[in-house]
């Protein structure tokens, strides 16, 4: 009930905004690649910041240091539940009740910027400092509207002890190797399923796309102006993904919310693909000593090794009354040493490349692997219609994995639906 109403609210908000934005200047398309400059000197006045969940809980502690460095500034952080954060943002944008700075999910950037709610990134902020895939999430129609705050990417998790049993001493690096490793887990190490892959459904694109990107697929064409699902590279990746299910290596009937952690610990499913948060999750279930029983590896290479980059961006809203100080706060959060401090506070991975040189991130071998993958990880295009289009992709993937539908036909369907929805720009 709650969910349905939430969806309706969003739709209505978007419609209302789409209607009201007719009179506005369509800044997104014509603006320069970066925004106005920010004044020198210290930040002053008060800044309101919205941040979700644990980030909202821990940010005030870090913000105190910013206040200490800038004596006239007060940072007010409001924590927002993830659950309905998107509704809160869209409603606030409609009623011009936005904060100065906010943490924005990477896949929402296109929508919010498309609504004309975000301020373009000032030129003092240099894009080279960030992981390229993560920076891409801030760019909408060629203009950047914020900076990546923290990142995450997907790697292959595997049980080292069971891999040894299966006769695998060094982790595979290519597609064929990954598949034979998963097969060996089943044949020799007593696993029920070789690798846990999402059998379609919501968010499954995040498991499929790492393979497609590793095969050189691009999600846009015509110079980034249209969706591009129906390509030979995509097809090859989807076929490869499907083969895990047809060969019985992955579970077709895997539940929508899989029991990843317990299955990993018991050895029933000794491999899966997921993000850094799973490290603490499996260790919680596995108990003491489990840390040494598993490893993570980069996505296997086809043409290259790529993965999905997620996380959250920081954006300044156009409505802000304290623009300069707001950007100064964002800039400060992007400093390498502040990013490392934030990692220690929150375990969020730094989006700034040089922060990864810090021993705190280098010592942990698994973390360092995530750092390596981030160099090449990619993000989906920041079209306002992305969430809508990708739903059709997820549905088609469900048919491909569960009922063995033809991947070529599935991609054709996705492409035609994507074209009829349009990019929304």
């Amino acid at each position: 009930m709650k969910r349905t109403s939430a969806i309706v609210v969003v739709t209505l908000t978007t419609t209302a905004l789409a209607l009201s934005s007719c009179g506005r200047d369509s800044g997104a398309a014509t603006a320069a690649t970066q925004g106005k400059t920010v004044s020198d000197g210290k930040a002053t006045g008060s800044i309101t910041v919205w941040a979700m969940g644990a980030e909202g809980e821990k940010l005030p502690e870090l913000a105190k240091e910013f206040e200490a460095a800038n004596p006239g500034v007060k940072v007010n952080v409001t924590a927002i539940p993830w659950d309905a954060a998107h509704d809160k943002f869209t409603t606030a944008i409609t009623a011009n009740q936005t904060p100065d700075v906010a943490m924005v999910g990477t896949t929402w950037m296109g929508e919010f910027a498309g609504l004309g709610a975000l301020d373009a990134t000032p030129p003092a902020i240099k894009k080279d400092a960030y992981f390229p895939g993560a920076w891409g999430t801030t760019e909408v129609g060629g203009t950047s509207y914020g900076v990546p705050w923290y990142v995450e990417t997907r790697l292959v998790y595997y049980r080292t002890d069971l891999a040894e049993k299966a006769g695998i001493t060094s982790p595979p690096t290519d597609w064929a190797g990954l598949k034979s490793m998963a097969k060996a887990m089943q044949d020799k190490a007593g696993a029920k399923w070789g690798i846990g892959l999402q059998a379609g459904g919501t968010g499954s694109w995040q498991s499929v796309m790492p393979f497609a990107w590793s095969n050189g697929a691009e999600l846009t064409k015509d110079g980034g102006k249209a969706y591009n699902f129906n390509t030979p590279e995509m097809l090859e990746a989807v076929k490869y993904y499907q083969s895990y299910f047809t060969d019985g290596i992955s579970d077709k009937a895997a539940p929508a919310t899989p029991t990843t952690e317990p299955d990993f610990v018991s050895g029933k499913v000794p491999m899966f693909i997921s993000g850094p948060w799973e490290m603490s999750a499996v260790e919680k279930v596995g108990g003491a000593g489990f840390k040494d029983k598993y490893g993570v590896m980069k996505m296997p290479v086809k043409k290259t090794s790529s993965s999905f980059v997620g996380g959250s961006d920081l954006a300044v809203f156009k409505n802000t009354k304290n623009r300069d100080s707001a950007w100064k706060f964002v800039e400060w959060l992007s400093k390498p040493d502040v990013q490392v401090k934030w990692y220690k506070l929150s375990t969020d991975l730094p989006s700034v490349k040089s922060a990864w040189d810090d021993p705190a991130l280098q010592q942990d071998k698994k973390l360092a692997e995530f750092g390596k993958q981030l160099e090449t990880a990619k993000a989906p295009p920041s079209f306002p219609t992305w969430e809508q289009v990708i739903t059709s992709f997820d549905t088609e993937m469900e048919k491909v994995t569960k009922t063995g539908a033809d991947p070529a036909a599935a991609l054709k369907t996705v492409q035609s639906q994507a074209e009829s929805i349009g990019t929304g720009q």
């Binding site: 609210v9 809980e57 924590a79 009740q97 999910g105 948060w277 279930v285």
Partner: protein, 274 residues
């Protein structure tokens, strides 16, 4: 005689299954709130906690400023309930028993608003409240819910069922209109008021989206909003915290229901017949 008893047996069997089906998730929720995150994700799942601990509750109470959220929730719920009892019964009474010009159109308007789902008016309502400068304030959380078309309809239907003669008798005896309403009809409307009160309380207590959107700083959050803060993350959910939070939200509701249980059932029965 025997067949009758057999019928009873069947009835009880079906009822037992239904009761178990309804209650089991709640029992699991309460038991789960004492389990560790590892145990909650175990396959096969356990019923009783292997090593019961209050960790989830401890975390919940130490990370959240509980008194504030609880107070906010209570204030909002109590004022909203009081407002509904007063205004809905007044309007319902007028629409049922008084004669005045424009009565029918007025009732039609009430019915029309009843038929528009709240989500449709959500964003305009928010813009309205924002323009009135009530964002991030308790009035902003309360005002839009002070009177509901459903409540008006419920009360009107109830008053329609009461004998009109009472009104005429009161007038003949020289009682003022307000006195007739307050001293004759309102006391008779007990069951309907109880139903309206409980339904409104539940609605207000569980309301999530409106307080989330209207409250812009944490000190104006209500309980459901605050409890959602840390349990559901971007990529993972902390089930232990979620279950403990749900238990805490549920407790006062359960209490209210237990206290008013008899009136509640009476109210539903009476309003259902009329």
């Amino acid at each position: 005689m025997i067949t009758k008893r057999k019928g009873h047996l069947w009835l009880y069997a079906v009822l037992t299954v239904a009761v178990v089906a309804v209650i089991a998730p709640f029992v699991w929720m309460v038991l789960g709130s004492f389990k560790s995150e590892g145990e909650l994700r175990q396959v096969p799942p356990t019923w009783l906690p292997e090593s019961a601990s209050l960790d989830n509750y401890r975390q919940l109470f130490s990370r959240l400023d509980f008194t504030t959220y609880f107070t906010n929730s209570i204030i909002v719920a109590v004022v909203v309930v009081a407002g509904n009892l007063l205004f809905c019964s007044m309007l319902g009474y007028a629409l049922a028993l008084l004669e005045f010009p424009g009565k029918r159109p007025l009732f039609a308007v009430v019915m029309a608003t009843l038929m528009i789902p709240g989500v449709v008016t959500f964003v305009p309502l928010f813009v309205l409240v924002a323009n009135a400068g009530l964002i991030n304030s308790l009035p902003g959380l309360i005002l839009p819910f002070l009177v509901t078309p459903f409540g008006v309809f419920l009360m009107r239907q109830f008053f329609l069922g009461l004998p009109r003669d009472l009104l005429d008798a009161g007038r003949v005896d020289g009682a003022g209109e307000l006195r007739i309403f307050a001293q004759i009809f309102l006391p008779l409307a007990g069951p309907a008021l109880a139903t309206l009160g409980i339904l409104t309380f539940l609605g207000s207590w569980n309301n999530f989206l409106w307080p989330l959107v209207v409250a812009q700083t944490e000190d104006h959050y209500t309980l459901p909003v605050a409890l959602a803060l840390y349990s559901v993350g971007q990529n993972s959910t902390q089930y232990g915290l979620l279950l403990a939070g749900s238990t805490v939200v549920l407790a006062p509701v359960l209490l209210v229901f237990l206290i008013f249980q008899r009136r509640f059932i009476e109210g539903i029965a009476t309003t259902g017949i009329k």
